[in-house]
Subunit: 255 residues, 2 copies
Amino acid sequence: MAEQTTKRRYQDVAEMIRSELMVGSFQIGDRLPTERHISEQLGVSRSLVRDAMIMLEVEGIVSVRKGSGTYVMRLPHVGDDSAEPQNDIGPFELLQARQLLESNIAAFAATMVTKADIVRMREALEQERHDMETGSGAYVADEEFHRSVALASQNSVLVEAVDHLWEMRKRSKMWAKLHQRIFDSGYQRHWLDDHQAILAALQCRDPMQARRAMWQHLENVRLKLLELSDVDDPAFDAYLFNTDPLAALSSDQTQ
Amino acid sequence: MAEQTTKRRYQDVAEMIRSELMVGSFQIGDRLPTERHISEQLGVSRSLVRDAMIMLEVEGIVSVRKGSGTYVMRLPHVGDDSAEPQNDIGPFELLQARQLLESNIAAFAATMVTKADIVRMREALEQERHDMETGSGAYVADEEFHRSVALASQNSVLVEAVDHLWEMRKRSKMWAKLHQRIFDSGYQRHWLDDHQAILAALQCRDPMQARRAMWQHLENVRLKLLELSDVDDPAFDAYLFNTDPLAALSSDQTQ
DNA sequence: CCGACACATCTGGCCGACCAAAATTGCCTG
DNA sequence: CAGGCAATTTTGGTCGGCCAGATGTGTCGG
């Protein structure tokens, strides 16, 4: 544990309530016991129970209604507990998922893309070039480009999925570390060509070429990350993922 | 609004803090003002500020440390407020995304699946059968099965992606409406065979068969939904999606 | 007998005071 | 003068009490 985030008691209370929900004592829509009742049953003050309820409400598990009670909105899954175990997702695990998902989204987008989408992607790419030349962090434009690819699918769920992937990337401490090295090495420049290839494939409305281009781009990212993470930090070992099966899968598809 | 969830003041406070972060006054890692300071600046009690901090902490935006202060973990992005703006995603748009993503996740999972995963899927399927016979809502077990397929990929990001898709599904009012009809018609029984086929493909470690089985399953769901939504409600028209391009894409892959 | 209104009670919302951990300060010691 | 230890201050954590909205209930008028 690097960051000594002191245990918060309300999280324990929330965990107890969650496990009570997982055991199946309550159904969706049920009203669970009052905060006072739970507090005296657990032997803690009501404030803690209230804080736990706020946590569960933000997680979408319960809905609190003043004067009425607290109601179950959805049942928690396993591993839904403790808000940040998935906080530090390994960069290679993340890239593996992105390769699988984004390459197929790109392929699908190639069949749905419109002129406006092409324009949007071109603008994002232009912005990337500009950021690269002026030396400002090309971080934002990179995200914008990948997002514009998803937008070309004309499916908001896919866009949200890509947003979600990007959100996880931002949460990953290890990714931030590796990405900083790539930025220092100035290697990002090479990704512009990758993005250009993806754009070209989409412009030709060629699904297989689009899938291949996106896959290759993320493969390049992976290889570069691998190259930059081998030497000094043994902690990276925990994040190494074998993507060979994915590669085999991808080649299956691209035929 | 059907559910009158009374406004909660701490959400307003959280929103103010979020907007203050979005304006760029703070960087990641900065310590923001003490709860007492914020409370008197906004003219509210410290408890409200504290509750807002709990909310922001669950969202991963800040981290609070007893005796030290509250620190910025990540910057909120637009649309991060008001937990459900895109509340009503069309069922067919959602299914389209699921077909694309879940079929490929299944294919990848087929290359990574372990004995324990097979057991987990088998249990979920058994639970589905049991729920079907006893007449209780087979809702939960259905989700559990799809989730167990993602788990077989050994990639937590993919699991989280599938969770996210199901989360959206639950938020969709239109989906709930259609799903109720399917439940009434007793058609869910046929999905058991689909799930069985998916499980079989994974057991054989056959990626293409797995992709095809998952794709066909969701195609069956789509067709049934289409059949049940044609007549009486013109509002459904807005949710009709042409998945032909997706079908073409899928057949490309399955070769 | 039925509906509507008022009140009693139950429920979560909010508050200010006090508690404990962390950080800071400053004194003491070598 | 430098280092370490202890008192003090700062900061979030916890608590019990009171407030306000929602619900259920009993009574009164039709």
